[in-house]
Symmetry: C2
Subunit: 880 residues, 2 copies
């Protein structure tokens, strides 16, 4: 391993390339950049994340030369600070923090005040003239170090509200803490600062693979190979008195996007106190009372420091071209920056910030488009509490992440997981959340905490997840043990239903109706920029005229998948459908189909009218027939009476349709080939509907008829012949001309592998990546619960391949199909209509692969539009 592996920063200079987040980690990179910008940053050094990887690959040892390098950089810090590590007179104290390539808030360990021992303590007292502060620092250090490095349970050490303690108490506690360590480990708390340092560095590396870090990485798809960097940095103190403080801030409001510094701080405190949520912090700027804050703002309390912070924030935004999330400490009136990183924000804020930064000339339009994560748009579109609905407000907390959620109350993350696995929706209620709660937060519909502020763990994580969240609802009395909570005299028990409004912070009893959110002008401006850049089309999967209308409202440019089978499940139709399925011969089947024809036709008329000439791709009947039959004897007997077939015969017929592997069975075009009359009826309904809409509405429309489960070109050709014939007959009947297209799903590996043959006679391809993923992996989605969670947990799959397109396997197959298809049919139209069509990284893949469009659920259309535009910006314009 080649040196350097350790990078000094301080005094306006930083070694290494600050842009190299993969080496320095996010925190280290930020510190280096800030140092280079001459923003006041305590000096320190960053240990490359490569050392972490090496450490794991080499039985927890370090590369040669590494230790010497650390000591050399430490000397540089001593030089800048003018104090010395382990010097009993003038000791240098440092913090040791993790810092991986992407932020993993609260996931890994930190040690503060390192370098303190019985001797340097005296030096600290002398230098600061604050005995109480020094002992408190020592106590904190022993507690933190014992927990993080020595592995002792935090609960062994008394939790302390430090305001009430005298110096003598603290002295006693230091001795007590050292005694606890001695008792638990049979040896003294380490007094050698260098031993302390190496212990802390190792502990930070080890925390990379702590269970909670692993869980977090899984949820956020962070490769375990990345490792973490370590930042060793001279301590500055926010707890040296009332001219000291510590705080966190967003350079703009992360909920609304308002251009105003937003954050919290505590006077005379160390950084961890703010995040921990034990003391309730005060706001930075002098906000109106209506926001629920006391007027002890930094703006009023330390106006000069506040102005310095504003100025730093501006420099940071101009440099990083983005809203920043910073940590700072004020030591005797001087502002020190300890961290800067990209600030997480709500979708609403993201859009507003992006638009504002364009008008402030900070960003170009294209840059602005990259500032909003596609997945965030999803939350913008989700229902909000109907303001007209009558509702009883139970309590009010801080609105931490917008939206609305209804669910049953649970009080632990394990319960949340269990109940959700049973198909329930839950609201996770906690005193405050911690990284150990992530798995529960991940599955809950909403999160509610009694403590914490807008930058507490719950708030930050929930915003990241785009999940509705209310924090700091002090009215709540939570009784974890008895699994209930109370607001005044009102008790809410485990399983009771509540609704929370993350936009206002209100909590309601029971279910409260929601409405479609109103999208503001900023949204429409932003989306118009999206559409200027975007080159591939975005369609929606929609099966009804209503779906089609929602899709159009969200900007869908057509329907990419209209599943005709859903139309049959309607109560009024299912009997005719069942009669058709149970018929013994073609004649009886045709009789039943004749009943279905006008119903299907009217659906198509509605959809065509709604889509006003935008393309509509209609897939002919796909699922196995037994899916339409009743699944128990009672229902079967009832059906028998209704359609006048003896029960035993019905039973026999139903049984004969049973399959071992229905997913791989008698479905899709296989039905259409065995019983052509079914597809004939459907094609007739489509074309008659098209003719009528064309004649009535005087619009032009081109229905696209799509055949499912094609695996061989001859299936396609056989059915194409049938479709052409029916279309010809209908067009003659209506004495009109309507163009139509015939294409196929590519959802079986064989269709992809023989795409060259199929492309010769098909007008279009649409990748059905749900089934293509099932067949390519050989995994039935219905059965995967046995092992898929274990697979994700064991890191075999980075992520469920049904959620994110597997580019390595399924993607390779798609690319093959695209290449073969276009080679045989140069202007073949190709799209995707599996659920992946609404997942950003999959959309990016589709763009790079040369698809003409993606199709997804209506609510995902805006997201897909943005992802498609971002792909163009990231990968450049590609000729289709």
């Amino acid at each position: 391993m080649s040196l350097p592996l350790v990078f000094f920063f301080g005094n306006g200079k930083a070694e290494g390339d600050p842009k190299k987040c993969d080496i320095l980690g996010g925190k280290g990179s930020g510190l280096a950049e800030m140092t280079q910008l001459s923003i006041p940053v305590p000096p320190g050094f960053t240990i490359s994340s490569e050392v972490c990887t090496y450490y794991y690959q080499h039985q927890y040892t370090y590369p040669s030369g590494f230790e010497k390098e650390v000591l050399k950089k430490l000397e540089q810090v001593e030089e800048v600070m003018g104090s010395f590590f382990g010097d009993p007179k003038n000791p240098l104290l440092v913090s040791v923090r993790s810092g991986s390539r992407v932020s993993m808030p609260g996931m890994m360990d930190t040690v503060l005040n390192l370098g303190l021992n019985d001797h340097t303590l005296q030096g600290l007292i002398q230098r600061t003239q604050k005995e109480r502060f020094a002992y408190d620092s020592y106590r904190r250090f022993i507690q933190m170090y014992s927990n993080v490095v020595l592995g002792l349970d935090l609960h062994l050490f008394k939790a302390i509200e430090d305001f009430d303690l005298q110096v003598s108490d603290l002295k006693e506690m230091v001795e007590e803490y050292k005694a606890i360590v001695r008792k638990q480990l049979g040896k003294e708390f380490p007094q050698d600062p260098y031993e302390q340092l190496w212990g802390a560095i190792g502990a930070v590396f080890l925390s990379w693979n702590s269970p909670r870090a692993i869980t977090y990485r899984k949820i956020h798809h962070i490769p375990s190979e990345w490792g973490t960097a370590v930042n060793v940095q001279a301590m500055v103190f926010g707890n040296l008195g009332n001219d000291c403080a510590t705080g966190v801030a967003f350079t703009r409001n992360p909920s609304t996007g308002e251009k105003k510094i937003f954050g919290e701080y505590l006077i005379n405190a160390q950084g961890e106190d703010v995040v921990a949520g034990i003391r309730t912090p005060a706001p930075l700027s002098d906000a109106p009372k209506s926001e629920g804050y006391a007027p002890h703002s930094l703006e009023r309390m330390m106006p000069q420091a506040f102005q310095e912070l504003i100025s730093i924030a501006k420099r940071l935004e101009t440099h990083f071209l983005d809203m920043q999330d910073i940590e700072f400490t004020i030591q005797k009136g001087k502002v020190w920056l300890l961290q800067t990183r990209r600030g997480k924000r709500s979708a609403h804020a993201a859009i507003h910030i992006a638009i504002d930064m364009v008008s402030e000339n900070i960003l170009s339009k294209k840059e602005a488009l990259l500032r909003v994560e596609p997945i965030q748009l999803d939350q913008l579109l989700h229902p909000m509490i109907d303001p007209e609905a009558s509702k009883e407000v139970l309590a009010k907390g801080l609105p931490a992440s917008p939206g609305a959620a209804t669910g049953q109350v649970v009080f632990s993350p394990d319960e949340a997981e269990e109940w959700v696995n049973q198909g329930k929706k839950v609201i996770l209620v906690r005193m405050e959340t911690s990284p150990e709660d992530i798995h529960g937060m991940n599955v809950a519909s909403g999160i509610l905490t009694a403590r914490g502020g807008a930058t507490s763990h719950a708030a930050v994580v929930a915003r990241g997840m785009g999940k509705c969240c209310i924090v700091g609802c002090h009215e709540l009395y939570i009784d974890i043990k008895n699994e209930q909570m109370a607001v005044r005299d009102r008790k809410i028990k485990l399983g009771d239903v509540i609704t929370i409004n993350g936009t206002t912070g209100e909590i309601y009893l029971g279910v409260v109706p929601t409405i479609k959110p109103k999208l503001d002008q900023a949204y429409y401006t932003f989306m118009s920029w999206v559409d200027e850049v975007r080159t591939i089309r975005v369609r929606a999967n929609a099966d009804t005229p209503h779906d089609a209308q929602v899709a159009r409202d969200f900007g869908a440019e057509g329907i990419g998948l209209c599943r005709t089978e859903h139309m049959f499940f309607d109560l009024a139709r299912i009997d005719a459908m069942r009669e058709m399925i149970l018929a013994d011969n073609e004649k009886d089947r045709r009789k039943a189909l004749a009943l279905l024809l006008p119903m299907q036709k009217s659906d198509f008329v509605g959809i065509f009218k709604e889509m006003k000439g935008y393309p509509v791709t209609i897939r002919l009947l796909d699922p196995p027939l037994h899916e339409f039959l009743p699944h128990n004897n009672k229902e079967l007997a009832e059906l028998g009476k209704k359609i006048d077939i003896p029960f035993t015969k019905l039973k026999r017929k139903a049984k004969s349709l049973d399959e071992f592997n229905p997913m791989l069975g008698f479905r899709g075009c296989r039905l259409g080939i065995a019983y052509p009359e079914i597809y004939e009826m459907q094609v007739q309904a489509i074309m008659e509907a098209a003719c009528e809409v064309v004649q009535e509405e005087k619009i032009s429309l081109v229905p696209e008829i799509m055949l499912p489960i094609i695996g061989d070109v001859r299936e396609f050709e056989l059915l194409k012949e049938m479709v052409d014939k029916i279309c010809k007959d209908v067009l003659e009947k209506y004495k009109t001309h309507v163009e139509y297209k015939i294409g196929t799903m590519i959802e079986l590996p064989r269709a992809a592998l023989t795409a060259d043959e199929i492309a010769k006679s098909a007008d279009f391809f649409s990748f059905g990546t749900n089934d293509l993923t099932q067949t390519t992996f050989g995994i039935s989605r219905d059965d995967s619960a046995f092992f898929l969670p274990k697979y994700v947990a064991k890191g075999i799959y980075e992520v469920d391949p049904f959620v994110r397109l597997d580019q390595k396997g399924v993607g390779r197959l798609m690319q093959l199909a695209i290449d073969l298809g276009r080679k045989a049919h140069a202007d073949l139209k190709i799209g995707i209509c599996g659920e992946h069509g609404g997942e950003p990284s999959s959309i990016e893949f589709c763009y790079r692969s040369g698809l003409n469009y993606v199709s997804c659920s209506p609510y995902r259309v805006p997201l897909a539009r943005l992802a498609a535009a971002q792909a163009v910006i990231k990968y450049g314009f590609q000729e289709k």
Copy 2:
């Protein structure tokens, strides 16, 4: 379409390239070649099969210039023959026969004596001075033409044994026949010879798409695009008197391979009489009585013609380098050849002929290897009647196709099909078979006819199918109407079980035990040549020591697939297996597994000993666990008692293992990852067995451990780590060193698509083409009965892809995996262990794709060895 489309042959000269079977058809090519060899062939011309294709593609019209060409060639025939088409004084008569690229015996139509009408009849009488013959010819012509060209039912015309008829009877019949035509069609039988000719040519083209021809093509995988050629040829007559004859012959014995002309003839008859089986023909050579023939051989009756035939046969064999199947006519003592083609033969004969022809310097060894079809070896290895078994001979017929078969008697091909679909085995009993019976013959275990000789339809077709067959069992009285038969006073009813011995011609009542056939020296000589040429290895799929022994006897060079799950189905073990499956926790699972360990180990010891160091690939547990559980409540309750688990709990547990799509569910390595203890036990059993055998037998052996259902390299790596650990432990315990390999099945598309990643850590790949075909096509084999037969019938699939490897789709995927795999791991060993590993065309594909070995069922090993050798000869030596 470019001319010429019509090719003259006669007088020692033939137009066109006789090798171009695709143009001239098999018959036309043979006639042209024989003409060029100066073998006496009546002159004529062949119409290119391209005309047939054109005819179908252009609404039953001919290419321009074609008709003129036909007339010109007809004039050339007139010139050679010195007689003239339609000339009332000296008429030229012709035959019009089909002739496709490959022989389709009896499948298409033929018209003889064409050119006869009321006027030319008189000329024929004058020229031949045989009024009876001439009228008989006219009658036959009207009957045949009316049937074949005019589409009248043959039964409208009286069937006639022509010996008994006087000229006056025949004259009457001619008038009667003409009246039938007049009555049925409302018009006269065509008198214009040219109208007759065009009618016949069109009819031959149309017969290419007759239902029976389509069925035949399906069974024999002949593309419908090939079309048929038409041969128009001057008539020669075998029915001009007792110095005339007609017959068919094989140049060697097609059953035994003996170097002796073998065939049958009829004196004073037309060709069709021999094949029709109405008159029982006499043998050609003067065979001993023991063969069951009368001594009216051609050798005795017409010694000079016989010698001429022998000499022609020899010239044909030397020219075609193969045994020939010929048709001849003797007209007034002169031998005329009407057809020659490659003779179908039994496997036994094929081997003997190949070996003899090498010693006769006709063939090189490599050529000889191409003279035996791999699939034929299959019949050589199938059981024969145990000569020691006590059995009652019911009757005896002509042994037409060797082997033995037991089944229930059915009397119609439809019945045969129906019963076989119900899972029964049937012997199809018919008076004689016709092309309409093909579908029944195809499914029957054996075929028995009361009429016909060794070259009758039943005999020829059965030999082609490699199916046990007895013909001409005159003792049988078959009562089709009442679905029964009798031999003397013994009645056999529909559904009674009989056994037939195609090697001796004996028919037995009930089931008769069979034994393994003895393979003769010729077989071993032949197979030694096979192995000299062959470059890829042939292994067997074998799960027990017994299977392993059979496999070795058939020349397997290892085991390519040992399925460990079969070992669990043993009654003594299934309970322990079930206990393991039903265990609630790892501890109980391990307890049950500990019981299974010694059993599995002893199996592996047996297999390793049997294989004497040849490689053995062992696949770890593959099927879903529920396959091992009882499938009804009664059995489940019994199990509950035995293993002391309450029924309700058992039921719940069993139900929890149910899957929607077990094929795509919790199976293969997914089990091994979720319950590592199962695979750990199996690996331990394998390695302990290997260590013990190595230590006891002092042989070296390298067990190959194979992981099923791998779809991602991380699955493989995780399990490889486990395997390595267990192996290390076992080797330490035994204090010995045994090498082992770890590889994977490639049976999921994703494994193939990511083969480059997997190959990096795998020692070998084995294509599991059964599952790979299921997932690639998205077809569950268990459920495919709903549509697969329809797919084959509609020509969507040429052949069931589970029988013959789908090279286009699955093959493309395999090639991708091979290329990716070898690129990442140059000397990666790659094989196949799906059923396709025993199918000749699939083996050829495997060779061309660069596989190292194929593995198939033990009985298919010889076949696979031959197919592998033929691939080398056909495609040249390829570096592996």
